[in-house]
């Protein structure tokens, strides 16, 4: 499979996968952190429930989109039970491709809107 085809095979991304990848785009995170980040970013609209979250993490690792990170925060902030995750190069490419796809979608919607209301006004 070519690299492009491999990336495309993940699209469109499942909503919770997309949110997890997006949370990891900036920095490495642990599970609880991802959950909090998503909650804040979506102003409480999207909550990743624990089982869904960890189930998705497991599958993302299996799909090689994310990996467990070796680097850990300073000991005073660390909890030994926590695992930290980071994007893999493949994960980053998939995220980029998905963002691009969503942007295209948004453009398409906006283009349609431009004609939409006008039509509605003619009786």
């Amino acid at each position: 499979m070519t690299e492009q085809a491999q990336v495309q095979s993940f699209l469109p991304l499942k909503a919770q996968w997309f949110h997890i990848l997006l949370s990891l785009a900036g920095e490495e995170q642990h599970g609880y952190g991802i959950m909090q980040e998503v909650l804040e970013r979506t102003t409480g609209k999207v909550r990743l429930w624990p089982a869904t979250l960890y189930g998705s993490l497991k599958r993302l690792i299996e799909a090689d989109l994310i990996a467990e990170s070796r680097s850990r925060p300073a000991p005073e902030f660390d909890d030994a039970r926590r695992r930290y995750y980071r994007l893999t190069p493949l994960g980053r490419r998939v995220l980029d491709a998905e963002c691009e796809r969503l942007q295209d979608l948004v453009h398409a919607i906006q283009a349609k809107r431009a004609v939409g209301p006008a039509k509605r006004m003619t009786p």
């Binding site: 642990h30 609880y32 429930w49 869904t52 189930g55 695992r83």
Partner: protein, 895 residues
């Protein structure tokens, strides 16, 4: 709040072990943090949502593990194709044969009739009854919602309209018009018979079976309203039965259903006013139990009614006789089995199936055990890095399941193949087509369930055994080669011993049946069997009146005698060598001095003048029937009150001995079938085509039989230069009387015997196949396990040889173990088989004939153990031989 925490914790802990190892702690912590927050923020709904999330993910996680297991199992099997092949073969054979047994017997015994409403409420009685009685039973509205009368296996000469071809002999049922109402059936086309419409005197209306509609009319919808010639008379087809329905109470399919309201010209079975004659017990009855009435309650109520009805019948058992007069059976299945015998027959089949599957499982289990030992290291490593034992067991069971499901698919294909072979086996002409018992989803479901059960069955024990590994020694370098630690009574040895025993048991039990059938498979004739032919004739069903028919048969012997290509001939109802076991002709010795008169149930054969001289059989005492006997009246039901005249009777040696011991039988009198018989002759026991000899009473063919031929017609047994000459001769003789008379079921003796043997051979194939299967499997298993043991002991053997052990010593070292196992297994299997055969013979007569012929056979009793032991030893010897060719240097350098 504590409740929600506890619930969350419990659910989180139910996740798969590996998932918990990776995410368990975090998930617990995250959840517990979230619960308090959610409760404050969203209340009950939020709490419910978080638990629901766990509940929904739980099966998904397990499923993903199963997928992983399955992928791993496929890889493992692909890596050891030999093991996979033998495994699929073993399980495939096991499931194929079992499924075949299941379709052949089990389905026939347990599957309910198609198209019938609530078939479990249908009952019938073991004994037949007369039509007036059935009407009395019908009056018991509190017991039955409906009672119908049925006469089975009635033959009709049917000529379809628009066809110039000769009429064809067709099997059907003669039924009271409410038959389909009792069955609760809706037609596929047209209408079914109905007591309101199909009254006496109307145009005869008939219903045809779905099968007949397809085979004869090409499923043409225009069939409704078509007229056919039925026994020479006109009748109209009014309907088609539901799909797959071809009659109740009959083991073989009916193609046409004719109401009892038709005149006797259409159905000669109805002649002699049988519908009003209480002594003509020609009918079976089919009843539907009223709601809430149990079969036992109905039985005892009917018994009382029958007892009262019997009062008017001088030939019925006396009122003091306490024996049951009515025994009810369930009628919702194709074959009706007495309620007390049913579990025994089903038990026999279940036991056979269980043994076959168990052997296949044992075979795989021994191989899996050996493999488990080889994977000790792999398993130890996985245990060491944190895999749970349960997980490993599940992994191994998944492998087993995959193997057995593949085997199940192969087995289903095998069963399909066997089924199509059976389907193409023709049954002896004269009996109807093979009943439809084709493979369907029931069978597929059965095979699938069997595969699952056996997959788990054979892999669970080895998995438990293999994962008991002590991690430390298994991980040590070279620890796979422990020199000692050989357990004499290890699980593996036990499994091999059991397998040898089971295979021998199977081989012997099936051998008993096979040998019994084979022995019985020879007919002895005192003439060249290639010179005899049978032709059936039935003028009444060609449209003759009884008087015309009588006249035809009176002229026939002279014409046959005048035909040069016929050397000798006789008429009869049953052709010679016909197998039968329906010994319901009860004869009682007329002896005023005896306190309890001697009684014997015999098989009744109706034969004409010179029957035994055609067969070249000697007459042991007295004489055989001649032309005078053939001119007797023989009416079994004359005017009420009249005493039936005494008739002559011949007995087979077996019957004569049973009734009169070693005394002279000639001139003595016996009672049976409402009249007195005088013994005029004794003839030798003739072995029938299935090899049995029965106690037979030969009654003379009479003018009554000529006027109203029995349902099967009258057979002309003729011999000529060749069978074909004889057939040609009979054809021209009959045509010289009337060219429109149909001759049906025309066969040479050789063809006839061949057909009967074909049905026996199909039984032989099944049973022989099972025995052979056990043999092959146990050989494969032994070879595999011994080969594996040798491979494991390569280093030990290498050391021994380096130290100077000779090849023969190594050989005996390896063989000794195998021989002990085979010997123990053989003894146990032998004793088990003899005990099982004895038990089965005692429990039911169904198998006793075959067993009694087979059990005493020294070829089997000595041959089978020797064969099995020989094969088993060969299976040990081949890998053992390989052990002697081990190069000590190479073996020692390993590891």
């Amino acid at each position: 709040m504590n409740f929600w925490h506890a619930a969350y914790r419990r659910l989180a802990l139910a996740f798969p072990h590996e998932f918990k190892l990776a995410y368990g702690d975090e998930m617990l912590q995250t959840g517990e943090d979230a619960i308090d927050y959610l409760a404050r923020r969203h209340g009950f709904a939020g709490l419910l949502r978080i638990l629901l999330d766990l509940l929904l993910r739980l099966p998904a996680e397990y499923l993903s593990e199963v997928r992983g297991d399955l992928r791993y199992a496929i890889r493992t099997l692909l890596k050891s194709p030999g093991y996979a092949f033998v495994g699929i073969l073993s399980i495939g054979l096991g499931i194929g044969l079992t499924t075949n047994l299941y379709t052949a017997a089990w389905t026939l015994l347990t599957r309910t009739l198609s198209g019938v409403t609530d078939p479990n409420r249908l009952v019938t009685a073991e004994a037949s009854a007369s039509f007036p009685w059935i009407e009395r039973y019908r009056d018991q509205k509190d017991l039955f919602t409906g009672v119908a009368a049925v006469e089975n296996d009635v033959q009709f000469n049917v000529a379809l309209s628009g066809e110039t071809a000769k009429p064809e002999r067709t099997y059907g049922q003669l039924v009271s018009p409410d038959y389909f109402t009792v069955l609760g059936m809706t037609p596929q086309r047209g209408r079914l018979l109905n007591a309101g419409i199909d009254r006496t005197g109307g145009t005869p209306a008939v219903v045809i079976s779905d099968r007949y509609w397809h085979s004869r009319f090409n499923a043409d919808p225009a069939v409704i309203g078509q007229t056919i010639r039925l026994n020479g008379q006109t009748a109209t087809i009014v309907g088609v039965t539901p799909r797959k329905f071809d009659g109740a109470l009959n083991p073989s399919p009916a193609e046409i259903f004719v109401p009892t309201t038709v005149p006797a010209t259409v159905a000669p079975e109805l002649a002699g006013d049988v519908l009003h004659n209480p002594t003509a017990k020609d009918f079976q009855f089919l009843m539907r139990l009223a709601p809430g009435v149990s079969i036992d309650a109905a039985e005892s109520a009917l018994d009382g009614i029958t007892r009262r009805l019997d009062k008017d019948d001088p030939f019925a058992p006396s009122q003091a006789d306490k024996a049951k007069r009515v025994v009810l059976l369930g009628a919702g299945t194709r074959v009706q089995i007495p309620r007390d015998v049913r579990p025994k027959i089903l038990g026999f089949y279940a036991a056979m199936m269980a043994v076959v599957v168990a052997i296949a499982c044992l075979n795989l289990a021994t191989m899996a055990l050996a493999r488990g030992a080889g994977r000790r290291r792999e398993l130890a490593i996985r245990l060491g890095v944190g895999a749970s034992r349960f997980r490993l067991i599940r992994q191994m069971v998944t492998e087993g399941l995959l193997l057995s499901l593949l085997g199940g698919a192969a087995g289903f294909a095998l069963a399909w193949a066997l089924e199509s072979i059976t389907d193409h086996t023709r049954l002896p002409a004269g009996s109807p087509l093979n009943p439809d018992r084709s493979i369907d989803w029931h069978t597929a479901l059965f095979a699938f369930a069997l595969a699952v059960v056996s997959g788990i069955g054979f892999s669970i024990l080895p998995a438990l055994h293999a994962t008991k590994t002590d991690v430390a020694p298994a991980l040590k370098e070279g620890a796979a080669l422990q020199l000692s630690g050989h357990k004499r009574f290890g699980l593996r040895n036990l499994a091999i011993g059991a397998q040898v025993a089971g295979s021998l048991l199977l081989l012997l039990v099936t051998g008993f049946v096979v040998l019994g059938l084979m022995k019985s498979n020879s007919v002895q004739t005192y003439f060249n069997p290639k010179t005899m032919a049978f032709l059936f004739v039935d003028p009444v069903r060609d449209g003759y009146t009884p008087a015309q028919s009588q006249a035809f048969f009176e002229r026939l012997p002279d014409r046959l005698r005048g035909t040069p290509s016929i050397t000798t001939f006789a008429l009869a109802v049953q052709p010679p060598y016909l197998p039968g076991d329906d010994d319901d002709f009860q004869l009682t010795v007329d002896d005023a001095h005896a306190a309890t008169p001697v009684q014997k149930g015999t098989l009744k054969h109706t034969v004409g003048a010179g029957f035994f001289s055609v067969l070249n059989e000697p007459i042991l005492a007295g004489r055989e029937f001649d032309e005078r006997d053939q001119r007797l009246d023989g009416d079994p039901a004359p005017a009420a009150g009249a005493v039936l005249p005494t008739m002559p009777l011949m007995l087979s040696q077996k019957a004569a001995r049973a009734l009169f011991g070693s005394g002279n039988a000639i001139g003595r009198h016996v009672h049976g079938d409402r009249r007195t018989w005088e013994i005029v002759g004794v003839v030798p026991d003739i072995r029938d085509a299935s090899g049995m000899t029965q106690a037979i009473a030969y009654v003379p063919l009479t003018r009554h039989d000529f006027a109203q031929p029995p349902s099967g017609g009258i057979v002309i047994v003729a011999r000529g230069h060749s069978a074909e000459d004889a057939i040609g001769g009979v054809r021209s003789a009959v045509a010289s009387i009337d060219p429109n008379i149909t001759l049906f079921n025309v066969q040479t003796l050789s063809e006839y015997l061949e057909l009967i043997r074909a049905s026996i051979r199909s039984a032989l194939r099944t049973f022989g196949g099972i025995g052979l299967f056990g043999l092959i499997l146990s050989a494969i298993g032994l070879a595999g396990v011994t080969g594996y043991a040798v491979a494991q002991r390569r280093k030990e053997i290498g050391i021994r040889m380096a130290l100077g052990a000779r090849k023969t010593q190594v050989l005996s070292l390896v063989l000794r173990e195998g021989i002990t196992l085979v010997a123990v297994g053989t003894v146990v299997g032998f004793l088990g088989a003899v005990a099982l055969a004895k038990a089965l013979t005692a429990i039911t007569t169904v198998f006793s004939d075959a067993f009694s012929l087979g059990v005493g056979d020294p070829r089997l009793l000595i041959g089978a153990p020797v064969l099995l032991a020989g094969l088993a030893l060969l299976a040990c010897y081949i890998p053992a031989r390989r052990a002697t060719s081990i190069d000590p240097l190479q073996a020692l350098r390993q590891d």
